[in-house]
C-alpha cells in the first residue's frame, strides 16, 4: 500500500574523513553532554537541527552502528583490559537518537533500524508507518560513521566515512508531485541510498509530496 507524505524538511551531510563543522557548541551547549557524543550522535543532532526538529517521534537507522565505540570495546578485550563504561553505553545502535532525546528532553518514541544496505529503505517504511499511526511529523535519520583507524584495510567503496541524511515527513491527502528513482549514490554507504533517492527527488520541489510504500 502506498501513502502520500509531505516532506517538511530535509538535510544531508557527507565528509571524506571527520566532519569538522557540525556546529556542536551551538547545538549542544552543555559541555558535559557534548563531551560524550559519538560521531554518529554528532551527525544526528546536526541533521535534526538542520531540519528544525527537536520534539516528536524519531526513526533512526545505521547499518554499521557506533563503529568507534565497538572498536574500543574489541580493542580492550584484545589486550585484556577492562571495558570502558562510556564505550559500552555508546556502543548500542540507538546511542545517537538517545543523545538527541536527552539534549532536547524529547519524550516521544524512538525506533532504531539496522538492516545492512536496506537500512534507509526500512527507515522510510518504519517512519511512514509511524507518521500514519500518529498523524504527526516524524524525523527520519540515517547515519554512518565508519571513520575509525585502519578502516582502509576493509573499506574501498565508501568515500564518505561520515555521512547522513534526514527527512521530516507527515501524511497528507495531497497528490504526489515527485517521482522517486532508485539511484546509485557513489561514495555513500548503500545503507543511505534510499533516503538519498527521496532527498534528491524532493530538492527541486518547493512543497514536495512523495508516495511511500508501507
Amino acid at each position: 500500500m502506498k501513502i502520500n507524505f509531505k516532506i517538511i524538511a530535509m538535510a544531508k551531510v557527507a565528509c571524506a574523513g571527520k566532519c569538522d563543522s557540525l556546529d556542536e557548541k551551538r547545538i549542544v551547549p552543555k559541555m558535559m553532554l557534548r563531551r560524550r557524543l559519538t560521531r554518529g550522535s554528532r551527525l544526528m543532532v546536526y541533521l535534526a537541527d538542520a531540519c528544525g526538529f527537536s520534539e516528536g517521534a524519531v526513526v533512526y537507522g545505521s547499518a554499521y552502528g557506533e563503529m568507534q565505540a565497538t572498536a574500543d570495546i574489541v580493542g580492550a578485550i584484545d589486550v585484556n583490559e577492562p571495558i570502558s563504561p562510556t564505550a559500552f553505553q555508546n556502543s548500542v545502535y540507538n546511542t545517537a537518537p538517545s543523545y538527541f532525546s536527552l539534549l532536547h528532553k524529547n519524550k516521544s518514541e524512538i525506533l532504531t533500524v539496522s538492516n545492512g544496505n536496506a537500512t534507509s529503505r526500512n527507515v522510510l517504511q518504519t517512519g511512514a508507518l509511524q507518521a500514519v499511526t500518529t498523524g504527526k511529523d516524524v524525523l527520519l535519520v540515517c547515519c554512518e560513521a565508519i571513520n575509525i583507524p585502519n578502516i582502509d584495510e576493509v573499506n574501498s567503496c565508501t568515500e564518505y566515512l561520515e555521512s547522513g541524511v534526514a527527512l521530516t515527513l507527515v501524511p497528507t491527502d495531497e497528490e504526489a508531485n515527485v517521482e522517486v528513482a532508485e539511484l546509485e549514490h557513489k561514495g555513500f554507504a548503500p545503507s543511505l541510498w534510499n533516503m538519498l533517492d527521496v532527498l534528491i527527488a524532493c530538492e527541486s520541489q518547493e512543497s514536495a509530496v512523495v508516495a511511500l510504500e508501507l
Partner: protein, 84 residues
Amino acid sequence: MITTNKLKTELIELFNLEGVHVDEIADDDHLFGDGLGLDSVDAIELTIFLDNEYGIVFSNISESETVFASIKTLQEYINKNESN
C-alpha cells in the same frame, strides 16, 4: 611522582573536557558534583584509568569516595600507591 597539573591534563583528556584548561581547575576542586561535574559513569572510568595507568585497585568503595574527593586527594593517593 605525578604533579597536580599533570593529573589535571590527564583528566581533561580522559573525560574529553573540551574547552577546560589546566589553570582553570583548582587543586581542591571536587571531581564530582559542583567541581568538575563528573558523574557515576566517570567514576567507573576513573577507576579503570587508575588501574591501567598506575596499577591502583581499590579494595572497597568507601576508600574511593575519599580519594575521589578532589584533585589534590587523588594526586596524593596516586603518589602513595602507584605500582606501575
